[in-house]
Symmetry: C2
Subunit: 407 residues, 2 copies
């Protein structure tokens, strides 16, 4: 059984965290440097952006995680340290400085950066800030919260969550924090997710669980279709819960995967709902497709359609755009079998059956679509494939946030 508890990355035993304003960002009210520390060695795994243009921190993190172990995560906001000639060198220095301040090995440090692309990263504020950051590390919800704040960019609120589960007779905890929003500069974005757990699990299974989970969670989220250069999801597992280490598939592994899924699903929805300028969280569910791949392709196509997103902003039951996005998705589906419904806390309305419109109350539809969380439900008669994807509406504020001249 998986149960939500208070806190985030410091909820599992043995993890402390902190976040300060060190001076990378001009706004002194915004924290810009986060640190997460495990008090003992931890198994570690990560997945990275598929963008060919990769942030330097990702390259260095990949090197450091080659042995499947890590102790700390250092992350700055305000500068992505990407597309700079000296990026790799500086990411390595960031690890070295962090390791020195924590008296650990530089190879045990995960490094991440988010913010402006193509502007050299100034390491001075980080060097100056590290002693304070280390001295304020806390194994408390407050420590985790400060870290969760320090990685934000255009996000409007922090995103952290924790779930508890049982493995091998011991209570284990998975905690996570994330930033999302849009993609990059001016006010930046990039999706970063850091997950901690006190569950004892081998690096191999930890990596497999993460890789499998993101196919149905973070890989099904789209705010604007732009895959950032700096996306990363990283998990540390330090075994402090004292469970018999999970080294093979089975009941314990399944319990861990379930808790990981709970954390990641929650963070996904938070990221989608807090997309740049978003007023609504959109979920697209697809059922009855030929297979999962077809269902995923359709769900992502609908959630990415600018026209669907703009219609949802306007609470417009414009199902023609949903059908259009199904049709150009590239998935092998039969649009003539498609039923389309809209759902929210205010009710459910079916607007299209077997690919053709049916009469419906525009007033009811408007009421349903005026809610903050909307589900676009599509059902084919092609097979058993199903999938979910998350996104947000397209608003004036998205254009404002991303069209304003850099300042």
């Amino acid at each position: 059984m998986t149960e939500q508890i208070k806190g985030g990355v410091t909820a599992p035993i043995g993890f402390s965290a902190g976040g300060i304003h060190c001076g990378i960002r001009a706004n002194q009210a915004k924290r810009d440097l986060a640190l997460i520390l495990s008090d003992r060695p931890a198994a570690a795994a990560a997945v990275y952006t598929t963008n060919l243009v990769k942030g330097a921190p990702l390259t260095v993190t990949k090197e450091n995680l080659a042995n499947g172990q890590a102790r700390a995560i250092i992350c700055n906001s305000g500068n992505a340290n990407t597309c700079n000639a000296d990026g790799i060198e500086k990411a390595r220095k960031m690890c070295a400085m962090t390791a020195q301040a924590l008296s650990i090995s530089p190879e045990d440090v995960v490094v991440a950066s988010t913010g402006v692309i193509g502007q050299p990263l100034d390491l001075c504020p980080i060097r100056t800030g590290l002693p304070e950051l280390v001295s304020t590390l806390e194994a408390t919800p407050e420590g985790g919260e400060r870290a969760a704040q320090a990685i934000l960019t255009t996000d409007t609120h922090k995103k952290e969550i924790a779930f508890r589960f049982s493995a091998g007779g011991k209570l284990c905890t998975v905690g996570g924090m994330a930033k999302g929003s849009g993609m990059i500069h001016p006010n930046m974005a990039t999706m970063l997710v850091f997950i901690t757990t006190d569950c004892a699990i081998s690096p191999e299974l930890l990596s497999r669980a993460l890789r499998e989970d993101i196919q149905d969670t973070f890989n099904m989220v789209s705010v604007d279709g732009d895959t950032s250069t700096n996306d990363m999801v990283c998990v540390l597992a330090n075994g402090a819960a004292g469970n018999r280490p999970i080294k093979r598939e089975g009941e314990d592994y399944d319990a861990f995967r379930q808790a990981l899924r709970a954390v990641n699903l929650w963070l996904c929805r938070q990221i989608a709902g807090d997309g740049e300028g978003a007023t609504k969280l959109l979920e697209c569910t697809v059922e009855g497709a030929r297979d999962t791949a077809c269902a995923k392709t359709v769900a992502k196509s609908v959630i990415c359609s600018s026209l669907v997103k703009a219609a949802m902003f306007g609470s417009d039951a414009n199902w023609g755009r949903v059908l259009c996005a199904i049709g150009y998705s590239g998935a092998a589906v039969d649009p003539n079998t498609a039923d389309v419904s809209f759902l929210s806390a205010a009710g459910r309305i079916t607007v299209c059956r077997s690919g053709a419109g049916i009469p419906f109350s525009e007033q009811d539809a408007k009421r349903i679509l005026s809610e903050h969380e909307i589900t676009i439900a599509i059902r084919f008669a092609d097979g058993m494939g199903k999938a979910r994807a998350w996104g947000c509406d397209l608003t004036y504020d998205y254009v404002k946030i991303n069209g304003d001249y850099r300042t």
Copy 2:
């Protein structure tokens, strides 16, 4: 030699056209029914949307063009006649009514519709309007202009052009008109292009010329990434210029292709620049890619990026977003060799060399990007592949046009 001349679809010999308000659209000031007629049989070819959800008129047009011949094009705006159970039947009736009014065969009629998806098309206004439309057909620039107006939806201005060229010692003319804007309902869109020529050319070569040309023209235009259900490009060639019919490749065929390219390029740029809510025409040029396919993939990825589009709206030289869009395009390119420049009537500025930022004057960049037509020029060192794509900026008005509740 290809030379621009006055007019549009009626510029070639033997074509008349007209456009009226028949009552499909509520606004009486908007024409909503267009007709183009060749005074003699014409070779005909068309290309259609790749969307699996296809408008009924496309299906019927495809049937009618199976013999490579047509005489007339009938097109209404205000209703797409798509996703309706009786769509095909009504599209066939529209051909039959038009054929009767013109005393030609229904199989010689090309039918197109653009507008709301999923609302049954009322044929009464078309039946009532056809006699007036036929009686006002004119082989004059005014006739062509009325037709060009009647196919518009959210377009802010008509789009028509004509070019003259020589083939086999005779002067020939190619004329064209288009509508573009966004995709569909509420104020609709869809790309429709109708081209006429008095050049004598076999249906086979006409079809081949069209298919080849659109790969570098209409297939490289994106307003919002949503491929409409009703897109169509159709060309009629009636041979009235009296040239020796073009039946094989050679000088005459090349001259025709050049004129066709001139017409289509011009219409492409018009469609992109008049995208829904657009304030700027964007062109992305790619050089030095491994091959043409890579170059096209990159150019389309950049022109489709919401973040690049929003940056251009804000006149923001945000080259990091260009590099990001290169990186996630899926093209096999080396981003570390990428140079990026911005060009306009106000000058040229290079902002990135070999994948890394270089110092530049933000003031100059702002001045260059404040123009109405912007080129984003990307150069790799991978090979000889090059391509161009066209799009527009992402603005508040795009969201407004597409987010407003249907009225």
